[in-house]
């Protein structure tokens, strides 16, 4: 199976977008996951709901909201453009933003779940050994929540590869710039008789995610503890 230049560009773009989206949203996902797992504060449920929003709303709506906020004419978009020189609209970075937003709830849930499972007593032990709360978090909490962080990253990456509703609504589909693998597949689906190409591209999509999952398993294996009896 040969890819057309546009399709090859879409594959490369999807990889880039999904990777950036996953890496960039991991730190805030850990932060929010930690807040939800460990802190009780007013507005906690609101934060929880907010995080879930992109899951609950049709992706197109999320894309539409992104357009309004981060578009050239959007409140944040205009400001970012004018003061920091950052533009999301019609750029691949915008695609990454859309994917990150869509993947965020999945990542937060997995990470939060893992953090909830970390034994606070071990963090306390680290504290008696001189570790500041931040150090204890880095030395003990994070490594113990590792499976959840990896799971969150895998889910997020897979979602980012598959996402297109929010992406196409926010940054449209510009070949070579914002046309991801998924938007290419979507477009092909509407062309009579193009089914075989659809399956070919789906195969590429699946292969990418399979590789990501293999990488994740490898990451987990390295620290998997043999179960006790």
């Amino acid at each position: 199976m040969m890819l057309t230049p546009d399709e090859a560009a879409a594959v490369a773009l999807s990889l880039k977008v999904a990777t950036l989206a996953t890496l960039a949203s991991l730190p805030p996902a850990v932060a929010v996951g930690w807040l939800l797992a460990r802190r009780r504060f007013p507005g906690r449920l609101l934060l929880d709901a907010l995080v879930h929003l992109p899951l609950v709303l049709p992706p197109v709506v999320t894309g539409f909201v992104l357009l309004r906020v981060f578009g050239l004419r959007g409140v944040a978009g205009a400001w970012l453009h004018d003061t920091l020189g950052i533009t999301f609209a019609f750029r691949w970075t915008g695609a990454a933003l859309a994917c990150a937003v869509m993947a965020f709830p999945l990542m937060v849930r997995a990470i939060r779940l893992s953090l909830e499972g970390v034994d606070v007593r071990l963090e306390n032990a680290a504290a008696t050994l001189g570790a500041s709360p931040l150090r204890a978090f880095a030395d003990v909490t994070m490594p113990l929540a590792w499976p959840g962080i990896v799971a969150g990253a895998v889910l997020g990456f897979a979602k980012a590869v598959g996402e297109f509703g929010a992406t196409i609504t926010f940054v449209s589909s510009i070949p070579g710039e914002t046309q991801t693998l998924s938007s290419a597949i979507y477009a092909l689906l509407q062309v009579p008789g193009a089914e075989s190409r659809v399956w070919a591209l789906c195969g590429v999509s699946v292969a990418i995610s399979l590789l990501a999952m293999l990488a994740a398993e490898a990451l987990l294996q390295r620290q998997r503890r043999e179960p006790a009896t």
């Binding site: 071990l122 306390n124 570790a131 503890r225 043999e226």
Partner: protein, 208 residues
């Protein structure tokens, strides 16, 4: 040195458990004995800063760690306490060596990894993962880890309970040595009368 070493007067609350406790002792090594559930571990937690007393104060060797009235509450990681927990609390994601070295400080004249490993017979375990360790092995590593952090106060919660008599016979003199040479204050919880008699200079009995 006849200053007060351990000056504790606190009210501890955990769920339905509540206990007022007053200890004034000028002994370096203070033993806590008492029935199961009488609050010994809770006191150690309070001294370590892991359980905030409802009121009162804690001062060890002249240093105030907690004082509700004066609003003092030193963070646990600043108390420089070596705490051998009753439940071990080794880090499951680190191997034995890295458990021992977690929190280790180098200190002229202090405890070194080699000494501690030799004393506690941990040599063959160094590269082992924590899972699968025997009860006594866990206890010895926990003791080693606490010593290597070069603490200014040792809290020992039944540190030898899972050790065989031979090993215990090796360790007790060592702890006596620590007591006599370094002058490190200790609070020692144990149910073994002989242990208490040999290591502690003062015994606080929890009447239930």
């Amino acid at each position: 040195m006849s200053d007060v070493v351990h000056s504790i007067d606190v009210t501890l609350r955990r769920g339905s458990f509540e206990r007022r406790l007053r200890i004034e002792s000028d002994a370096r090594v203070l033993a806590l004995v008492g029935a199961s559930g009488s609050g010994k571990t809770s006191v150690l937690h309070a001294v370590a800063g892991l359980l905030r007393p409802a009121r009162g104060h804690i001062a060890i060797a002249g240093e105030t760690l907690f004082d509700a009235a004066r609003g003092v509450d030193v963070a646990p990681h600043r108390r420089r306490i070596g705490y051998v927990f009753q439940d071990g609390r080794l880090f499951p994601h680190l191997d034995v060596r890295r458990n021992l070295l977690y929190g280790a400080r180098s200190n002229a004249g202090g405890f070194t990894l080699d000494d501690v490993a030799a004393l506690l017979a941990l040599g063959p375990l160094m590269q082992r993962r924590i899972t699968g360790l025997s009860g006594g092995e866990v206890q010895r590593i926990a003791l080693g880890r606490a010593l290597l952090s070069q603490p200014r106060l040792l809290l020992l919660d039944e540190p030898l309970s899972m050790l065989d008599p031979d090993r215990r016979e090796e360790l007790l003199p060592y702890l006596q040595g620590v007591r006599d040479e370094s002058g490190l204050p200790m609070i020692y919880v144990s149910h073994a009368a002989d242990e208490v008699a040999r290591i502690a200079q003062d015994v606080h009995r929890f009447d239930d």
